[in-house]
Protein backbone atom coordinates (compact mmCIF):
# COMPACT_ATOMS: atom_id res chain seq x y z
CA UNK A 1 0.00 0.00 0.00
CA UNK A 2 2.86 2.33 0.91
CA UNK A 3 4.50 1.67 -2.46
CA UNK A 4 1.25 2.44 -4.30
CA UNK A 5 0.87 5.72 -2.39
CA UNK A 6 4.48 6.66 -3.14
CA UNK A 7 3.99 5.92 -6.85
CA UNK A 8 0.81 8.02 -7.05
CA UNK A 9 2.46 10.88 -5.19
CA UNK A 10 5.65 10.82 -7.23
CA UNK A 11 3.87 10.54 -10.57
CA UNK A 12 1.58 13.43 -9.72
CA UNK A 13 4.27 15.80 -8.43
CA UNK A 14 6.30 16.18 -11.69
CA UNK A 15 3.43 18.14 -13.23
CA UNK A 16 4.22 21.07 -10.94
CA UNK A 17 8.03 20.60 -10.77
CA UNK A 18 10.46 23.25 -12.01
CA UNK A 19 12.87 20.78 -13.61
CA UNK A 20 12.70 17.03 -14.17
CA UNK A 21 15.73 14.80 -14.51
CA UNK A 22 15.16 11.51 -16.29
CA UNK A 23 17.83 8.78 -16.18
CA UNK A 24 17.99 5.17 -17.33
CA UNK A 25 20.78 2.66 -17.75
CA UNK A 26 22.39 -0.69 -17.13
CA UNK A 27 25.52 -1.69 -15.25
CA UNK A 28 27.17 -5.07 -14.85
CA UNK A 29 29.65 -3.47 -12.45
CA UNK A 30 26.96 -2.11 -10.13
CA UNK A 31 24.48 -4.92 -10.89
CA UNK A 32 21.26 -3.37 -12.10
CA UNK A 33 19.02 -2.13 -14.89
CA UNK A 34 16.51 0.61 -14.36
CA UNK A 35 15.62 4.25 -14.35
CA UNK A 36 15.00 7.23 -12.15
CA UNK A 37 12.90 10.36 -12.29
CA UNK A 38 13.76 13.34 -10.10
CA UNK A 39 11.55 16.40 -9.75
CA UNK A 40 13.40 19.52 -8.61
CA UNK A 41 11.60 22.27 -6.73
CA UNK A 42 13.25 25.51 -5.55
CA UNK A 43 14.71 23.91 -2.44
CA UNK A 44 13.68 20.31 -2.55
CA UNK A 45 13.93 17.28 -4.80
CA UNK A 46 11.69 14.23 -5.10
CA UNK A 47 13.09 11.05 -6.69
CA UNK A 48 11.58 7.73 -7.71
CA UNK A 49 13.54 4.76 -9.07
CA UNK A 50 12.45 1.41 -10.48
CA UNK A 51 14.29 -1.42 -12.16
CA UNK A 52 15.64 -4.93 -11.96
CA UNK A 53 18.60 -6.08 -9.92
CA UNK A 54 19.71 -9.71 -9.95
CA UNK A 55 16.39 -10.69 -11.53
CA UNK A 56 14.23 -8.95 -8.92
CA UNK A 57 12.02 -5.93 -9.40
CA UNK A 58 13.18 -3.12 -7.13
CA UNK A 59 11.65 0.22 -6.25
CA UNK A 60 12.99 3.28 -4.47
CA UNK A 61 11.94 6.81 -3.58
CA UNK A 62 13.30 9.77 -1.66
CA UNK A 63 12.43 13.36 -0.77
CA UNK A 64 15.23 15.80 0.06
CA UNK A 65 14.45 19.23 1.43
CA UNK A 66 15.92 21.98 3.60
CA UNK A 67 14.60 22.88 7.03
CA UNK A 68 16.20 25.46 9.36
CA UNK A 69 19.68 24.98 7.86
CA UNK A 70 19.38 21.19 7.88
CA UNK A 71 19.22 19.02 4.80
CA UNK A 72 16.69 16.27 5.40
CA UNK A 73 16.19 13.21 3.23
CA UNK A 74 13.29 10.83 3.76
CA UNK A 75 13.56 7.63 1.74
CA UNK A 76 16.33 5.65 0.08
CA UNK A 77 19.89 6.89 0.29
CA UNK A 78 23.39 5.47 0.60
CA UNK A 79 25.01 6.03 3.97
CA UNK A 80 28.53 6.25 2.60
CA UNK A 81 31.59 8.06 3.92
CA UNK A 82 35.32 7.63 3.54
CA UNK A 83 38.21 9.25 5.38
CA UNK A 84 41.83 8.52 6.22
CA UNK A 85 41.82 5.11 4.49
CA UNK A 86 38.51 3.98 6.01
CA UNK A 87 35.28 3.73 4.07
CA UNK A 88 31.74 2.44 4.49
CA UNK A 89 28.77 2.41 2.14
CA UNK A 90 25.45 0.93 3.25
CA UNK A 91 22.13 1.18 1.45
CA UNK A 92 19.49 2.55 3.76
CA UNK A 93 15.85 3.52 3.88
CA UNK A 94 14.77 5.98 6.53
CA UNK A 95 15.34 9.53 7.70
CA UNK A 96 18.63 11.39 7.15
CA UNK A 97 19.41 14.67 8.82
CA UNK A 98 22.56 16.45 7.65
CA UNK A 99 24.17 19.71 8.64
CA UNK A 100 27.16 21.02 6.71
CA UNK A 101 29.11 24.03 7.90
CA UNK A 102 32.52 25.35 6.86
CA UNK A 103 34.47 23.21 9.34
CA UNK A 104 31.85 20.71 10.47
CA UNK A 105 29.76 17.98 8.92
CA UNK A 106 27.20 16.12 10.96
CA UNK A 107 24.90 13.37 9.67
CA UNK A 108 22.38 11.24 11.57
CA UNK A 109 20.41 8.36 10.11
CA UNK A 110 17.55 6.27 11.56
CA UNK A 111 15.66 3.61 9.63
CA UNK A 112 16.46 0.31 8.02
CA UNK A 113 19.38 -1.16 6.10
CA UNK A 114 19.50 -3.81 3.43
CA UNK A 115 20.50 -4.71 -0.07
CA UNK A 116 20.42 -1.76 -2.37
CA UNK A 117 21.52 -0.44 -5.71
CA UNK A 118 23.07 2.98 -5.94
CA UNK A 119 23.93 3.84 -9.53
CA UNK A 120 23.93 7.08 -11.51
CA UNK A 121 20.54 6.05 -12.91
CA UNK A 122 18.79 4.24 -10.03
CA UNK A 123 18.81 4.30 -6.22
CA UNK A 124 16.78 1.63 -4.46
CA UNK A 125 16.83 -0.19 -1.14
CA UNK A 126 15.26 -3.29 0.35
CA UNK A 127 14.48 -3.38 4.06
CA UNK A 128 16.32 -6.15 5.90
CA UNK A 129 17.43 -4.87 9.29
CA UNK A 130 16.81 -2.06 11.71
CA UNK A 131 19.63 0.45 11.30
CA UNK A 132 20.99 3.69 12.66
CA UNK A 133 24.19 5.63 12.25
CA UNK A 134 26.01 8.91 12.51
CA UNK A 135 29.00 10.60 10.88
CA UNK A 136 30.84 13.55 12.33
CA UNK A 137 33.79 15.40 10.81
CA UNK A 138 35.47 18.46 12.27
CA UNK A 139 38.33 20.50 10.81
CA UNK A 140 40.48 22.28 13.41
CA UNK A 141 42.50 25.39 12.69
CA UNK A 142 45.83 23.69 13.44
CA UNK A 143 45.49 21.24 10.54
CA UNK A 144 43.84 18.41 12.45
CA UNK A 145 40.83 16.69 10.92
CA UNK A 146 38.81 14.45 13.20
CA UNK A 147 36.31 11.97 11.76
CA UNK A 148 33.94 9.63 13.58
CA UNK A 149 31.67 7.04 12.02
CA UNK A 150 29.29 4.69 13.79
CA UNK A 151 26.59 2.45 12.40
CA UNK A 152 24.33 -0.44 13.38
CA UNK A 153 23.42 -2.51 10.34
CA UNK A 154 21.38 -5.40 11.76
CA UNK A 155 23.97 -7.59 13.46
CA UNK A 156 26.91 -5.72 11.93
CA UNK A 157 28.43 -2.97 13.98
CA UNK A 158 30.80 -0.24 12.85
CA UNK A 159 32.73 2.15 15.05
CA UNK A 160 35.64 3.83 13.25
CA UNK A 161 37.70 6.79 14.34
CA UNK A 162 39.96 8.70 11.97
CA UNK A 163 42.51 11.41 12.57
CA UNK A 164 44.67 13.25 10.08
CA UNK A 165 47.16 16.07 10.38
CA UNK A 166 48.19 18.30 7.50
CA UNK A 167 51.49 19.99 8.25
CA UNK A 168 53.59 22.37 6.19
CA UNK A 169 55.36 19.61 4.26
CA UNK A 170 53.84 16.41 5.58
CA UNK A 171 50.54 14.68 6.15
CA UNK A 172 49.79 11.91 8.63
CA UNK A 173 46.51 10.03 8.60
CA UNK A 174 45.21 6.99 10.40
CA UNK A 175 41.97 5.28 11.16
CA UNK A 176 40.99 2.22 13.15
CA UNK A 177 38.21 0.46 14.95
CA UNK A 178 35.52 -2.01 14.08
CA UNK A 179 34.35 -2.05 10.47
CA UNK A 180 31.28 -4.27 10.10
CA UNK A 181 32.35 -6.49 13.03
CA UNK A 182 35.96 -6.81 11.82
CA UNK A 183 38.96 -5.19 13.36
CA UNK A 184 40.40 -2.59 11.08
CA UNK A 185 43.41 -0.36 10.80
CA UNK A 186 44.74 1.96 8.13
CA UNK A 187 47.64 4.37 8.14
CA UNK A 188 49.22 6.78 5.67
CA UNK A 189 52.20 9.13 5.82
CA UNK A 190 53.22 11.63 3.14
CA UNK A 191 56.35 13.77 3.27
CA UNK A 192 57.39 16.48 0.82
CA UNK A 193 60.78 17.88 1.96
CA UNK A 194 61.14 20.17 -1.08
CA UNK A 195 58.97 21.13 -4.03
CA UNK A 196 58.99 18.29 -6.57
CA UNK A 197 60.08 15.54 -4.17
CA UNK A 198 57.66 13.43 -2.14
CA UNK A 199 57.54 10.15 -0.24
CA UNK A 200 54.49 8.15 0.79
CA UNK A 201 53.81 5.04 2.88
CA UNK A 202 50.41 3.35 3.30
CA UNK A 203 48.92 0.39 5.11
CA UNK A 204 45.36 -0.81 4.43
CA UNK A 205 43.11 -3.67 5.48
CA UNK A 206 40.23 -4.68 3.23
CA UNK A 207 37.41 -7.05 4.11
CA UNK A 208 36.28 -9.13 1.19
CA UNK A 209 35.55 -12.87 1.48
CA UNK A 210 38.73 -13.04 3.54
CA UNK A 211 41.06 -10.60 5.20
CA UNK A 212 43.22 -8.67 2.73
CA UNK A 213 46.19 -6.56 3.74
CA UNK A 214 48.06 -4.22 1.43
CA UNK A 215 51.11 -2.05 2.10
CA UNK A 216 53.00 0.33 -0.12
CA UNK A 217 56.03 2.60 -0.09
CA UNK A 218 56.55 5.11 -2.87
CA UNK A 219 58.70 8.05 -3.88
CA UNK A 220 58.22 10.69 -6.57
CA UNK A 221 60.56 13.35 -7.93
CA UNK A 222 59.99 16.02 -10.56
CA UNK A 223 63.02 17.77 -12.06
CA UNK A 224 61.85 20.20 -14.71
CA UNK A 225 60.71 18.15 -17.67
CA UNK A 226 61.74 14.85 -16.07
CA UNK A 227 59.82 12.87 -13.44
CA UNK A 228 60.98 9.79 -11.53
CA UNK A 229 58.89 7.43 -9.42
CA UNK A 230 59.41 4.17 -7.56
CA UNK A 231 57.19 2.03 -5.35
CA UNK A 232 57.18 -1.24 -3.44
CA UNK A 233 53.90 -3.05 -2.77
CA UNK A 234 52.97 -6.03 -0.64
CA UNK A 235 49.62 -7.84 -0.37
CA UNK A 236 48.33 -10.81 1.62
CA UNK A 237 45.07 -12.61 0.90
CA UNK A 238 43.97 -16.13 1.93
CA UNK A 239 47.46 -16.94 3.27
CA UNK A 240 49.00 -16.05 -0.10
CA UNK A 241 51.56 -13.30 -0.24
CA UNK A 242 52.03 -11.17 -3.33
CA UNK A 243 54.79 -8.63 -3.67
CA UNK A 244 55.52 -6.10 -6.33
CA UNK A 245 57.89 -3.30 -7.19
CA UNK A 246 57.78 -0.61 -9.80
CA UNK A 247 59.99 2.18 -11.07
CA UNK A 248 59.56 4.62 -13.88
CA UNK A 249 60.54 7.90 -15.44
CA UNK A 250 59.03 10.32 -17.88
CA UNK A 251 60.26 13.13 -20.11
CA UNK A 252 58.04 15.92 -21.44
CA UNK A 253 59.02 17.81 -24.58
CA UNK A 254 56.42 20.31 -25.74
CA UNK A 255 53.20 18.36 -26.35
CA UNK A 256 54.93 14.97 -26.30
CA UNK A 257 55.50 12.92 -23.16
CA UNK A 258 57.57 9.72 -23.14
CA UNK A 259 57.32 7.39 -20.16
CA UNK A 260 59.04 4.10 -19.31
CA UNK A 261 58.02 1.93 -16.37
CA UNK A 262 59.32 -1.28 -14.84
CA UNK A 263 57.01 -3.60 -12.90
CA UNK A 264 58.02 -6.77 -11.04
CA UNK A 265 55.65 -9.12 -9.24
CA UNK A 266 55.74 -12.90 -8.56
CA UNK A 267 59.15 -13.12 -10.28
CA UNK A 268 57.56 -11.78 -13.44
CA UNK A 269 58.91 -8.60 -15.02
CA UNK A 270 56.89 -6.25 -17.17
CA UNK A 271 58.30 -3.26 -19.03
CA UNK A 272 55.91 -0.64 -20.39
CA UNK A 273 56.96 2.24 -22.64
CA UNK A 274 54.41 4.90 -23.52
CA UNK A 275 54.65 7.88 -25.85
CA UNK A 276 51.74 10.30 -25.58
CA UNK A 277 51.00 13.40 -27.60
CA UNK A 278 48.37 16.01 -26.78
CA UNK A 279 47.16 17.98 -29.78
CA UNK A 280 44.51 20.50 -28.82
CA UNK A 281 41.55 18.25 -27.91
CA UNK A 282 43.11 15.05 -29.19
CA UNK A 283 45.33 12.66 -27.31
CA UNK A 284 47.31 9.89 -28.97
CA UNK A 285 49.37 7.24 -27.25
CA UNK A 286 51.52 4.36 -28.36
CA UNK A 287 52.36 1.58 -25.88
CA UNK A 288 55.06 -1.09 -26.03
CA UNK A 289 54.87 -3.95 -23.50
CA UNK A 290 57.72 -6.38 -22.85
CA UNK A 291 57.18 -9.43 -20.63
CA UNK A 292 58.51 -13.00 -20.56
CA UNK A 293 60.61 -12.30 -23.66
CA UNK A 294 57.57 -11.21 -25.65
CA UNK A 295 56.89 -7.75 -27.02
CA UNK A 296 53.40 -6.45 -27.73
CA UNK A 297 52.18 -3.13 -29.09
CA UNK A 298 49.04 -1.19 -28.27
CA UNK A 299 47.58 2.16 -29.17
CA UNK A 300 45.28 4.41 -27.22
CA UNK A 301 43.89 7.86 -27.49
CA UNK A 302 40.95 10.07 -27.09
CA UNK A 303 39.05 13.14 -28.09
CA UNK A 304 37.52 15.61 -25.67
CA UNK A 305 34.96 18.01 -27.10
CA UNK A 306 31.86 19.82 -25.93
CA UNK A 307 29.54 17.29 -27.53
CA UNK A 308 31.51 14.08 -27.48
CA UNK A 309 34.36 12.64 -25.44
CA UNK A 310 35.98 9.31 -26.27
CA UNK A 311 38.97 7.68 -24.64
CA UNK A 312 40.77 4.37 -24.83
CA UNK A 313 43.20 4.02 -21.95
CA UNK A 314 45.80 1.43 -21.20
CA UNK A 315 47.11 1.04 -17.67
CA UNK A 316 48.87 -1.38 -15.36
CA UNK A 317 47.08 -2.11 -12.06
CA UNK A 318 48.13 -4.12 -9.00
CA UNK A 319 45.75 -7.02 -8.19
CA UNK A 320 46.59 -8.66 -4.85
CA UNK A 321 43.67 -11.13 -5.09
CA UNK A 322 44.61 -14.50 -6.64
CA UNK A 323 48.29 -13.54 -6.58
CA UNK A 324 47.89 -11.88 -9.97
CA UNK A 325 50.21 -8.97 -9.18
CA UNK A 326 50.60 -6.36 -11.91
CA UNK A 327 48.22 -6.81 -14.83
CA UNK A 328 47.57 -4.74 -17.95
CA UNK A 329 44.07 -3.36 -18.33
CA UNK A 330 42.32 -1.39 -21.03
CA UNK A 331 39.33 0.85 -20.37
CA UNK A 332 36.98 2.51 -22.82
CA UNK A 333 34.91 5.58 -22.06
CA UNK A 334 32.42 7.34 -24.34
CA UNK A 335 30.35 10.35 -23.38
CA UNK A 336 27.91 12.01 -25.76
CA UNK A 337 25.89 15.18 -25.21
CA UNK A 338 22.80 15.87 -27.32
CA UNK A 339 21.07 19.09 -26.26
CA UNK A 340 20.29 18.56 -22.56
CA UNK A 341 20.79 14.78 -22.64
CA UNK A 342 24.00 12.89 -21.91
CA UNK A 343 24.83 9.33 -22.92
CA UNK A 344 27.66 7.54 -21.14
CA UNK A 345 29.41 4.23 -21.65
CA UNK A 346 32.33 3.02 -19.60
CA UNK A 347 34.18 -0.23 -18.99
CA UNK A 348 35.96 -1.03 -15.74
CA UNK A 349 38.09 -3.88 -14.45
CA UNK A 350 36.91 -5.21 -11.06
CA UNK A 351 39.28 -6.58 -8.37
CA UNK A 352 38.73 -10.12 -9.75
CA UNK A 353 40.00 -8.84 -13.13
CA UNK A 354 36.61 -9.17 -14.86
CA UNK A 355 35.68 -6.51 -17.37
CA UNK A 356 32.43 -4.78 -16.38
CA UNK A 357 30.51 -2.04 -18.10
CA UNK A 358 28.13 0.74 -17.16
CA UNK A 359 25.98 2.61 -19.65
CA UNK A 360 23.31 5.19 -18.93
CA UNK A 361 21.52 8.21 -20.31
CA UNK A 362 20.28 11.25 -18.45
CA UNK A 363 18.26 14.28 -19.51
CA UNK A 364 16.70 17.41 -18.02
CA UNK A 365 13.20 18.57 -18.87
CA UNK A 366 12.17 22.12 -17.97
CA UNK A 367 8.83 22.25 -16.15
CA UNK A 368 6.08 24.92 -16.25
CA UNK A 369 7.33 26.73 -13.12
CA UNK A 370 10.93 27.07 -14.25
CA UNK A 371 10.47 30.36 -16.13
CA UNK A 372 11.14 30.93 -19.83
CA UNK A 373 13.24 27.86 -20.55
CA UNK A 374 15.69 28.07 -23.38
CA UNK A 375 15.09 25.58 -26.15
CA UNK A 376 17.89 23.31 -27.22
CA UNK A 377 20.05 24.29 -30.16
CA UNK A 378 23.52 23.40 -31.20
CA UNK A 379 26.34 25.89 -31.29
CA UNK A 380 29.15 26.92 -33.55
CA UNK A 381 31.02 23.89 -34.76
CA UNK A 382 34.11 25.84 -35.78
CA UNK A 383 35.44 26.84 -39.16
CA UNK A 384 37.74 29.41 -40.72
CA UNK A 385 34.99 31.82 -41.86
CA UNK A 386 33.40 34.26 -39.41
CA UNK A 387 29.88 35.63 -39.40
CA UNK A 388 29.72 38.65 -37.16
CA UNK A 389 27.35 41.43 -36.28
CA UNK A 390 25.99 43.81 -33.69
CA UNK A 391 22.64 44.20 -31.96
CA UNK A 392 21.41 47.66 -30.92
CA UNK A 393 18.19 49.07 -29.49
CA UNK A 394 16.08 51.88 -30.96
CA UNK A 395 18.49 54.49 -29.50
CA UNK A 396 21.52 52.77 -31.05
CA UNK A 397 22.74 51.45 -27.69
CA UNK A 398 24.37 47.99 -27.72
CA UNK A 399 22.14 45.21 -26.48
CA UNK A 400 23.49 42.30 -24.49
CA UNK A 401 21.95 38.84 -24.38
CA UNK A 402 20.13 38.84 -27.72
CA UNK A 403 19.84 35.36 -29.25
CA UNK A 404 20.49 34.97 -32.98
CA UNK A 405 20.05 31.71 -34.82
CA UNK A 406 22.15 30.99 -37.88
CA UNK A 407 21.43 28.65 -40.73
CA UNK A 408 22.03 25.10 -39.52
CA UNK A 409 20.66 25.70 -36.03
CA UNK A 410 23.62 27.32 -34.29
CA UNK A 411 22.57 29.96 -31.76
CA UNK A 412 24.83 32.79 -30.61
CA UNK A 413 24.32 35.55 -28.02
CA UNK A 414 25.40 39.19 -28.15
CA UNK A 415 27.93 40.40 -25.57
CA UNK A 416 27.97 43.63 -23.51
CA UNK A 417 29.09 45.56 -26.62
CA UNK A 418 26.12 44.11 -28.50
CA UNK A 419 28.50 42.11 -30.69
CA UNK A 420 28.21 38.48 -31.70
CA UNK A 421 30.12 36.11 -33.95
CA UNK A 422 30.09 32.52 -35.09
CA UNK A 423 32.61 30.47 -37.03
CA UNK A 424 31.28 28.63 -40.06
CA UNK A 425 32.86 26.11 -42.38
CA UNK A 426 31.64 27.50 -45.72
CA UNK A 427 32.12 30.91 -47.32
CA UNK A 428 28.47 31.44 -48.23
CA UNK A 429 25.57 33.52 -46.90
CA UNK A 430 23.80 32.19 -43.82
CA UNK A 431 20.18 32.98 -42.93
CA UNK A 432 19.64 34.92 -39.67
CA UNK A 433 16.71 34.64 -37.28
CA UNK A 434 16.30 36.64 -34.05
CA UNK A 435 14.99 34.30 -31.33
CA UNK A 436 13.03 36.71 -29.13
CA UNK A 437 11.88 33.96 -26.75
CA UNK A 438 15.49 32.87 -26.11
CA UNK A 439 16.87 36.23 -25.00
CA UNK A 440 19.05 36.21 -21.92
CA UNK A 441 18.28 39.93 -21.67
CA UNK A 442 15.32 41.02 -19.56
CA UNK A 443 12.20 42.57 -21.00
CA UNK A 444 10.07 42.01 -24.07
CA UNK A 445 11.55 42.94 -27.45
CA UNK A 446 10.49 43.35 -31.06
CA UNK A 447 12.61 43.39 -34.22
CA UNK A 448 12.86 46.74 -36.09
CA UNK A 449 15.27 45.48 -38.74
CA UNK A 450 17.30 42.35 -39.35
CA UNK A 451 19.04 41.29 -42.59
CA UNK A 452 17.71 38.12 -44.18
CA UNK A 453 21.19 36.62 -44.21
CA UNK A 454 24.79 37.33 -43.28
CA UNK A 455 27.86 36.92 -45.45
CA UNK A 456 31.15 35.79 -43.85
CA UNK A 457 33.60 38.67 -43.57
CA UNK A 458 30.98 41.43 -43.31
CA UNK A 459 29.22 42.73 -40.19
CA UNK A 460 25.44 42.79 -39.96
CA UNK A 461 23.41 45.19 -37.84
CA UNK A 462 20.24 44.12 -36.03
CA UNK A 463 17.95 46.77 -34.54
CA UNK A 464 15.46 45.96 -31.79
CA UNK A 465 12.76 47.84 -29.93
CA UNK A 466 11.72 47.33 -26.33
CA UNK A 467 8.04 46.51 -26.01
CA UNK A 468 6.09 48.26 -23.28
CA UNK A 469 4.28 45.73 -21.10
CA UNK A 470 0.49 46.06 -21.43
Amino acid sequence: MLRVCLCVLLLGVPVSAQVLQLSAGRSTLLGGTGGEITAFFPESALSASAGFANGHFVLGASDTFKFHGLEITAGDKTFGYSFDGAGLGVTTRGLFVQRKARHNTFVVFVGSTGIGYATPFMVTAEDQHIGAGFFLQRQFANGLLLSSLAMIDGGKHTVVQGLSYQGHNHRLAGSGGLLQNQKYFSGEADYQPIHGLSFSATHNDYFLADHLTANSLSAFAALGRVTLQASVLDGRYKMTKTTGASAGSSLRLSSITARSSFYESNHRILLVHVVQENLHRWTFSGIVNQTLGQTSYAFGGGYRGNKISVSLDHSVLFFPIGAKGFQQTTTVQVSLRIHDATLNFQTNVDPMMHVQYTTYASSYVQGPLSGPAMISYSHSTGGKFVIAGAVVDERGQPMEGAAIQLQGGAVVYSDSQGKFFARVKHDKPSALVVLLSEFAAPGRWAVISCPMDAVPGTEVLIRLRREIAP
Binding site: V13, S44, D340, P372, G401, V412, E438, A440, R444
Partner: protein
Amino acid sequence: MKRASSLLLPQLLFFGLAVSAQTISPMIVECGKKCRGEFSITNNGLTPLAVTVEARSFSLDTLGRATNRPLDPAVDLKLEEGSARISPKGTHTFAYQLKCADPSCSVVLLSSMVVGHTAEGILVRVQLAHTIYACEKQKDCRKKVRAAAGGKVE
Protein backbone atom coordinates in the same frame (compact mmCIF):
# COMPACT_ATOMS: atom_id res chain seq x y z
CA MET B 1 -1.63 9.57 1.30
CA LYS B 2 -3.29 12.46 3.07
CA ARG B 3 -0.29 12.83 5.38
CA ALA B 4 2.13 12.77 2.44
CA SER B 5 0.19 15.51 0.65
CA SER B 6 0.12 17.66 3.77
CA LEU B 7 3.92 17.32 4.04
CA LEU B 8 4.41 18.26 0.42
CA LEU B 9 2.32 21.43 0.46
CA PRO B 10 4.54 23.45 2.87
CA GLN B 11 7.54 22.70 0.68
CA LEU B 12 5.88 24.16 -2.38
CA LEU B 13 4.76 27.25 -0.47
CA PHE B 14 7.75 28.24 1.59
CA PHE B 15 10.98 27.43 -0.21
CA GLY B 16 12.64 30.22 -2.18
CA LEU B 17 14.57 30.06 -5.40
CA ALA B 18 17.92 28.32 -5.13
CA VAL B 19 20.65 29.82 -7.30
CA SER B 20 23.52 27.40 -7.86
CA ALA B 21 27.06 28.71 -8.18
CA GLN B 22 28.71 28.53 -11.60
CA THR B 23 32.39 27.66 -11.90
CA ILE B 24 35.30 28.45 -14.20
CA SER B 25 38.53 26.50 -14.58
CA PRO B 26 41.38 27.33 -14.76
CA MET B 27 41.25 30.89 -13.43
CA ILE B 28 44.82 31.87 -14.35
CA VAL B 29 47.24 30.56 -16.99
CA GLU B 30 50.76 31.54 -18.04
CA CYS B 31 52.03 31.03 -21.56
CA GLY B 32 54.66 32.03 -24.08
CA LYS B 33 54.40 34.54 -26.94
CA LYS B 34 52.20 32.16 -28.90
CA CYS B 35 49.87 29.87 -27.09
CA ARG B 36 46.78 27.80 -27.46
CA GLY B 37 44.58 27.41 -24.43
CA GLU B 38 41.13 26.74 -23.14
CA PHE B 39 38.92 27.23 -20.13
CA SER B 40 35.74 25.55 -19.01
CA ILE B 41 32.52 26.90 -17.54
CA THR B 42 30.37 24.51 -15.54
CA ASN B 43 26.67 25.16 -15.19
CA ASN B 44 25.85 23.81 -11.74
CA GLY B 45 22.24 24.84 -12.10
CA LEU B 46 19.22 22.91 -13.35
CA THR B 47 18.29 25.26 -16.19
CA PRO B 48 20.27 26.03 -19.37
CA LEU B 49 22.70 28.92 -19.22
CA ALA B 50 23.61 31.43 -21.96
CA VAL B 51 27.25 32.51 -21.68
CA THR B 52 29.04 35.24 -23.64
CA VAL B 53 32.81 35.68 -23.65
CA GLU B 54 34.58 39.02 -24.05
CA ALA B 55 38.31 39.71 -24.13
CA ARG B 56 39.97 42.64 -22.37
CA SER B 57 43.55 43.71 -21.80
CA PHE B 58 44.35 44.79 -18.28
CA SER B 59 47.04 46.47 -16.25
CA LEU B 60 47.89 46.07 -12.59
CA ASP B 61 48.57 48.72 -10.00
CA THR B 62 51.09 48.39 -7.19
CA LEU B 63 48.52 46.65 -5.00
CA GLY B 64 47.79 44.09 -7.71
CA ARG B 65 44.37 45.52 -8.60
CA ALA B 66 43.45 45.11 -12.26
CA THR B 67 42.04 47.78 -14.55
CA ASN B 68 40.43 46.46 -17.72
CA ARG B 69 40.59 48.18 -21.09
CA PRO B 70 39.83 47.22 -24.70
CA LEU B 71 42.11 44.59 -26.16
CA ASP B 72 45.56 45.99 -27.04
CA PRO B 73 46.57 45.99 -30.75
CA ALA B 74 49.60 43.87 -29.79
CA VAL B 75 47.27 41.04 -28.80
CA ASP B 76 46.04 38.74 -31.55
CA LEU B 77 43.33 36.64 -29.95
CA LYS B 78 41.26 34.10 -31.83
CA LEU B 79 38.31 32.78 -29.83
CA GLU B 80 36.71 29.62 -31.15
CA GLU B 81 33.31 30.69 -29.81
CA GLY B 82 32.01 33.97 -28.46
CA SER B 83 28.98 32.52 -26.73
CA ALA B 84 27.43 29.20 -25.78
CA ARG B 85 24.38 27.64 -24.29
CA ILE B 86 25.40 25.30 -21.47
CA SER B 87 23.07 22.44 -20.54
CA PRO B 88 22.00 21.84 -16.92
CA LYS B 89 24.91 20.35 -14.96
CA GLY B 90 26.94 20.56 -18.16
CA THR B 91 30.43 21.89 -18.87
CA HIS B 92 31.44 23.87 -21.93
CA THR B 93 35.05 24.42 -23.00
CA PHE B 94 36.02 27.61 -24.82
CA ALA B 95 39.24 27.33 -26.81
CA TYR B 96 41.45 30.18 -27.98
CA GLN B 97 44.73 31.01 -29.67
CA LEU B 98 46.75 33.99 -28.53
CA LYS B 99 49.75 35.78 -30.04
CA CYS B 100 51.48 38.58 -28.17
CA ALA B 101 53.61 41.11 -30.09
CA ASP B 102 54.75 42.96 -26.92
CA PRO B 103 57.26 41.65 -24.36
CA SER B 104 54.27 40.70 -22.22
CA CYS B 105 50.49 40.72 -22.58
CA SER B 106 47.88 40.50 -19.84
CA VAL B 107 44.49 39.43 -21.10
CA VAL B 108 41.30 38.55 -19.28
CA LEU B 109 38.45 36.60 -20.86
CA LEU B 110 35.24 37.61 -19.11
CA SER B 111 32.42 35.08 -19.21
CA SER B 112 29.07 36.71 -18.53
CA MET B 113 25.95 34.77 -17.68
CA VAL B 114 22.54 35.40 -16.30
CA VAL B 115 21.25 33.15 -13.54
CA GLY B 116 17.53 33.09 -12.79
CA HIS B 117 16.40 34.70 -16.06
CA THR B 118 12.76 35.84 -16.25
CA ALA B 119 10.86 37.87 -18.82
CA GLU B 120 10.55 40.77 -16.37
CA GLY B 121 14.14 41.10 -15.21
CA ILE B 122 17.51 39.65 -14.41
CA LEU B 123 17.87 38.14 -10.98
CA VAL B 124 21.64 37.63 -10.87
CA ARG B 125 24.30 38.51 -13.45
CA VAL B 126 27.50 36.54 -12.94
CA GLN B 127 30.87 37.36 -14.50
CA LEU B 128 33.76 34.91 -14.21
CA ALA B 129 37.29 35.67 -15.40
CA HIS B 130 39.93 33.54 -17.07
CA THR B 131 43.24 35.43 -16.91
CA ILE B 132 46.10 34.87 -19.36
CA TYR B 133 49.65 36.11 -18.78
CA ALA B 134 51.74 35.83 -21.96
CA CYS B 135 55.51 36.53 -21.92
CA GLU B 136 58.63 35.66 -23.89
CA LYS B 137 58.98 32.63 -21.62
CA GLN B 138 56.08 30.92 -19.89
CA LYS B 139 57.84 30.30 -16.59
CA ASP B 140 57.08 32.89 -13.85
CA CYS B 141 55.28 35.14 -16.35
CA ARG B 142 52.71 36.28 -13.79
CA LYS B 143 55.44 37.16 -11.30
CA LYS B 144 57.26 39.19 -13.94
CA VAL B 145 54.11 41.10 -14.91
CA ARG B 146 53.33 41.86 -11.26
CA ALA B 147 56.93 42.89 -10.61
CA ALA B 148 56.89 45.18 -13.67
CA ALA B 149 53.76 46.85 -12.25
CA GLY B 150 55.63 47.52 -9.00
CA GLY B 151 53.56 45.03 -7.08
CA LYS B 152 54.61 42.72 -4.29
CA VAL B 153 55.74 39.32 -5.61
CA GLU B 154 55.33 36.26 -3.37
